[in-house]
Symmetry: C2
Subunit: 614 residues, 2 copies
């Protein structure tokens, strides 16, 4: 019953995704992890989301004709928000169309975070000492670099006599802030690399960045190897508390994954891990604590505090990362025990702390972190949304990987989009939201969340009525029929699944309500709503609003910004001054503990039902 699935390939990444025909190109790019800039919210009025369609360019739309010249149109340039994908496409996405790259790399006034990495290389020629010039080795080195106030670590000083007397070749100084990090023989100014890590509870992503120009070279990800010890942070903290060396075992597990990523990105870029001179990491507070070998147990018990809020700097090798022995590791600061540096990174990447108008940013994973505010005030909370949107506790739930139903459309019947384009194996968070929203609109599910009884669903079209069956004594909806009677299984949405969605969306909705009210703002009046994270990438805005997960703002105010935590880590790698900005965000963001707020309980109860049909 599925609609046609088409393949869209994005360049220069070479990344391909399969989407249902009719999907916008912006949405397809999001599935490929590429977030396009859409200041107008996808209305086709700003002309910022321009891409070059290399194969199968469709007819230009009116909006295309308004914003692009005839020669551009002839060359295949189109606005991604207006392009409804109808056939296999190959699309090239320029840097200036990308949401985060634009932020880091563009020049001039629009550039919020200039490319100013903490590291730089400088080719130098240190004159030998002489009777006329008896300055010490280190003083001559500093003079050759042109800054007498630089600092140097004892390990460099120890290596200095050998390095300076190794022959007549020039040397390359690796400079980090006001410190001489190392000297390399010869001219190595061409190779200067950094890695930005986003350490999530479920998955870990590393991006290799060329620190000579700020471009992201390649990305690799792994399931966080700690999942072996439990799916969520509380279980892992429990393991650390109960098991001798538990913390260290968790830490070393994580390091296995991080070091595999380092190896993979270095292999892909054909560089040595020795050329990686700086690492930036973000994560939720528990992940950061474990990564740094800090006991996270206070986070798991009331009053749920972090041991360390601020940023931590240390040598990457001391943390166990297999990169250059002098590379610095910068772990961004947290906000609270359940709002970590990944949220600081989202705030940073979204630019919300620089604007006058308030932004509401939502990052939904196992927990939902919500931040609202502007450059003057930021308020955050953590909603115990539970893992429903990650596919856990859902009958046929799964993560947003190949085989997951990520899109559900009700037309003549139930049509689904499957990640990877193959056979449906289960349903992920965005598919779940779609399914519930569509079934709500069709009247299969009522406002209280009850699925219509098959016997009494006479008001429904035949095909929908036939999709309802009884499962474990309650009604359920067949989203995908079993493809194969022997091995295949149908993908169902059960009554219990709908209840899980209600609990999860109510937690997020109530959290949004509390922090917006704290700021004196009606959630329905927020000028800008950002959805971060994998879930936020796949979800459709109108559907999230239909089930009451997102506030009822005009849809064009809602943007999906993809893995903004990873983007924030890259911003900090590319732009040193962001470290101070991150510290400010960490220190000044007001954390609201929902468990202690009576108004949260009320809002939570009220948000449990679905909004009435429009």
């Amino acid at each position: 019953m599925s609609r046609q699935t088409v393949r869209v390939t994005f360049q220069p990444e070479g990344r391909a995704v399969f989407v249902l025909a009719g999907t916008t190109l912006v949405e397809a790019a999001g599935q490929a992890g590429i977030v396009l800039s859409q200041p107008c919210g996808g209305e086709g009025t700003c002309g910022k989301c321009r891409v070059e369609v290399l194969e199968n360019a469709p007819e230009p739309t009116d909006a295309d004709r308004r914003h692009l010249s005839p020669s551009e149109l002839a060359a295949g340039w189109r606005l991604a928000c207006q392009l409804s994908v109808g056939a296999d496409l190959v699309v090239s996405v320029p840097q200036e169309t990308r949401f985060f790259e634009q932020m880091i790399l563009s020049e001039g006034e629009s550039c919020q975070y200039p490319f100013q990495p903490n590291l730089r290389k400088q080719l130098i020629d240190v004159p030998p000492a002489s009777i006329e010039d008896q300055r010490s080795d280190l003083d001559r080195l500093k003079a050759a670099i042109g800054n007498g106030a630089l600092r140097a670590d004892l390990s460099l000083i120890r290596a200095l006599p050998g390095l300076l007397r190794s022959g007549p070749q020039p040397l390359t100084a690796v400079l980090e802030g006001d410190e001489i990090q190392w000297l390399e023989p010869g001219d190595t100014t061409g190779g200067l690399w950094g890695i930005a890590f986003d350490i999530g509870t479920t998955s870990v992503v590393g991006t290799l960045m060329d620190l000579t120009d700020g471009s992201s070279r390649c990305v690799a990800s792994r399931t966080n190897p700690q999942v072996h010890f439990g799916d969520d942070v509380v279980t892992r903290i429990g393991f650390a508390e109960r098991t001798p060396d538990g913390l260290d075992r968790l830490r070393k597990r994580l390091l296995t994954g991080l070091n595999e990523i380092i190896e993979e990105v270095c292999d892909t870029a054909q560089i040595e891990p020795e050329a990686v001179y700086e690492v930036v990491a973000v994560g939720n507070t528990t992940m950061s604590h474990i990564f740094l070998g800090i006991d996270p147990s206070p986070i798991a018990h009331a009053p749920y505090v972090a041991v360390c809020r601020g940023a931590v700097d240390l040598k990457a090798v001391e943390a166990g990362l297999e990169v250059n022995g002098n590379a610095n590791l910068h772990v961004l600061p947290n906000i609270a025990g359940f709002v970590g540096s990944d949220t600081v990174a989202v705030v940073l990447a979204s630019g919300m702390a620089l604007r006058d108008e308030p932004t509401l940013a939502i990052d939904i994973g196992t927990n939902g972190e919500v931040v609202v505010g502007n450059r003057r005030r930021l308020i955050a909370c953590s909603c115990a949304a539970g893992p429903a949107f990650e596919g856990a506790r859902i009958r046929h739930g799964m993560r947003a990987t190949d085989g997951a139903v990520s899109k559900v459309v009700l037309n003549a019947g139930i049509e689904v989009g499957v990640i990877g384009g193959g056979r449906a194996a289960g349903i992920c968070g965005s598919g779940l939201v779609d399914a519930v929203a569509e079934l709500l609109s069709a009247g299969v599910i009522d406002e209280t969340g009850r699925i219509a009884d098959p016997q009494s669903a006479a008001h429904l079209p035949d095909r929908l009525r036939r999709a309802i069956l009884e499962f474990e004594g309650q009604p359920a909806v067949v989203l995908v029929e079993a493809a194969d009677s022997r091995t295949g299984q149908p993908v169902l949405l059960t009554q219990k699944d709908v209840r899980e969605v209600q609990l999860a969306k109510a937690a997020v909705h109530a959290g949004i309500e509390v922090v917006c009210r704290e700021l004196g703002l009606d959630p329905r009046e927020v000028p800008r709503v950002l959805m971060a994270g994998g879930f936020g990438t796949f979800i459709r805005r109108s559907q999230a609003q239909r089930i009451g997960l997102l506030p009822a703002v005009p849809t064009d105010r809602i943007e999906s910004i993809g893995n903004a935590a990873a983007a924030g880590a890259k911003v900090v790698l590319a732009c040193t001054k962001c470290r101070a900005e991150a510290e400010r965000i960490s220190r000044e963001t007001e954390y609201v503990e929902l468990a202690a707020r009576p108004d949260f309980q009320t809002a939570y109860m009220e948000a449990m039902t679905f909004p009435p049909r429009a």
Copy 2:
């Protein structure tokens, strides 16, 4: 033939020395390592060198009566510079009479280096976290200390959850500059200790300082265990260059001595080495390099440069010192390859870089370091004086330890003072200077340095003439006759010994000449001359001038300031702001390489003969 030897005991140290009757109390104190303040140069006009004679107080002098009240005189107070020791004495030296202590500890305008150690302890009460106060452990700790900008090392952060949850007891924070160094359970504010090391080529001295009040608790010293590998720095550098692991073996040898000193001073003060939270070290450039594991070989070969001039900070345990695991080690900066941090410490302790009038400071060991200047300009050089003044290459030479002839007086015959008061076993540097000076004045040695031939010395008094004999074909003078014909040996001054003295004093004299001229100063017009180091403590000013070692300034301008390098290390331990001052001295002092100066060669040749008789 020796004059009467008397014993002087100094309190509160309880240190006793044996001196010839007639020695001034200032000189006796110097032999005990206690440097008294003498702004007037020992003329009895300033009244600053007041001490309390507890036993056998002699009759007051006129100067005593001018500067001390009748009740003070009755209580035994005297001016040390006017007191000629005639009998065994017990003397108490108050803090304000001590040269260096006065500098550090006095209050008000006269205080050049206020007591402001880098370390302090603070008793704190960190409130537990609550739902109303969800600040992180570290943020609550910083707030309890009262400074949110403090930094903390990862090792402290890792220990924090345990420390803050160890019970209801208060905690003591150990604060170092803007860093929280550690937390200790309970109230430990009473115990805060530091050690100042002076690492000499020949001996190593460590002083334990109570960092709650800046008082020196006890001192211990050892022969530098590296002497096993050679007497001078060049030999040791050669060992490091030729031997596999040579540098590391030298370093570990030194550490044995330093750790023995730490153990000894802690035993004496009855504290745990864990309570030592800061270490400051000075030494010549080679010793500092070896101590820090930096290859010193560039120092030994033209153009004789240091690898590292600036100060180095690291954890003391990383350098191998057995003190508190978080203690900082601060190694002071050097000036050049042959003018080390010990000279910076001398400049610092002497206060010469703070004054308008120029000071000439001379520290004679195996090398003689000379610095001249004032607060605007400082010029230094290193004179290859050779080890003659340390007793090396001298027929009966020995170091200034028990049994060394340290004073020689010609009266009816040759009278000698022996360190420790026992039998003479040899002669040390100050005895050598005395002997040459006295024999010059008596005409036994002529201006060219030739000892009178016994056959042709008819102009000499009988007793002197009889002291001259022939030794290995050249004349020699018997300073002490063999006490015992079977085991004893006489102490001779040979013609070759006199030549060694001429070479050594000419090097120092010419060095002084060059640096003073560089400053536009006639050496004979320098307003203040300071003699530092063990040799400088024992030497008599007029005798040093008699042989031409010191310039012919009025004697009252010359002061012996004892182990000023060790005192400088203590100053830095007691007064943090001195670190910046030391860096300024290190950076701004102009180093003159004598080997490259034609005017040095001329001055050296001219200084070879002795000054004519007055």
